[in-house]
Symmetry: C2
Subunit: 186 residues, 2 copies
């Protein structure tokens, strides 16, 4: 079944809905569940209906680096794996109990065939992700740790309620100590 949020937002006509609905599967997963594990090949496109996913990788020296967080109403997949069918470097783990929809890569062609509305919508969300990544990149390159922290606090205050600080630190590209110090001064 197609998630109601997508039907509304992407304005998927009900004629499309009948045809592509069966391609989507609904899942309820608990906190701690891995959607994708590093080293595996990912052939699934996920849609987060409710919940929160942390995407991270492990560095050569064994540290975990949070690449980013994805919240409800986002598509996620391992970009470095999905099309190329190579093992991904990333882990996708749920930080909250979540409702997730999945679409298999093998059904993508059918989806493109049967619903332009959804195809355009996925294009759209992918470009938004690219825009977000580009923004993050500019931030981490040319803003101070303090500015990045203040901006996150301004733009996504709820993340501080939902995610432990060490993950946020590595998302910001700083150490937990530095984050702690910045929080201390008002």
């Amino acid at each position: 079944m197609l998630p109601p949020y997508i039907i509304e937002t992407a304005k998927v006509p009900s004629s499309d809905e009948e045809k592509i609905g069966p391609l989507f599967k609904k899942h309820v997963f608990s906190k701690g569940h891995f959607l994708i594990r590093e080293g595996t090949i990912c052939k699934t496109l996920f849609f987060i209906d409710t919940g929160l996913v942390r995407i991270y990788r492990t560095t050569d020296d064994g540290n975990e680096v949070t690449a980013f967080f994805m919240v409800e109403h986002s598509f996620v997949t391992a970009f470095d794996s999905f099309y190329k069918s190579t093992p991904t470097k990333y882990n996708f783990v749920l930080l909250e109990d979540s409702v997730i929809y999945s679409l298999q890569q093998s059904d993508l062609e059918t989806m493109i065939d049967k619903s332009h509305a959804l195809t355009k919508f996925i294009f759209h969300t992918t470009y938004e992700l690219a825009a977000r990544l580009t923004e993050l990149l500019a931030n981490v390159k040319f803003r101070t740790a303090e500015e990045r922290y203040r901006n996150l606090l301004r733009d996504s205050p709820s993340i501080f309620q939902r995610v432990q600080l060490s993950y946020i630190a590595s998302y910001l590209g700083i150490t937990p100590e530095t984050l702690s110090r910045m929080r201390a001064k008002k």
Copy 2:
């Protein structure tokens, strides 16, 4: 006309080619030409057939920050503008004389309709871009300036022949002085 590289790589059947070929326009632009200027709304998807594009933005304090470079055989557009029809923050300028193809956003639907091969290919390249951005982000957050420089030198040595050093410095997220110093030691 569809660029030959795409026809081959995306395996676009000649039946599709006839239908979507007319949607693409070929351009020859000189070094220094702006494909996209910040503040404008971008409704065009470009494909770089030959050449090199520098994508940069201007910070609050008036500095230019190179987000990244795109070389031949890449699709480029202002992700923060294309779908949302909001003014982009980025400039796309040619660093070499280039052959560029363009597709108007208004023709995207037709393209999706007429060629699944190309639609899939554009999905594919967009995910590759997202993978690249994610990689860059991890690099800039958790590798030293020196490591980032060495990696770039290893992975894309030709960029040093094609692009001036101050642009490469801001791509790496360092100052020109630091880049110069790193080049000096062997």
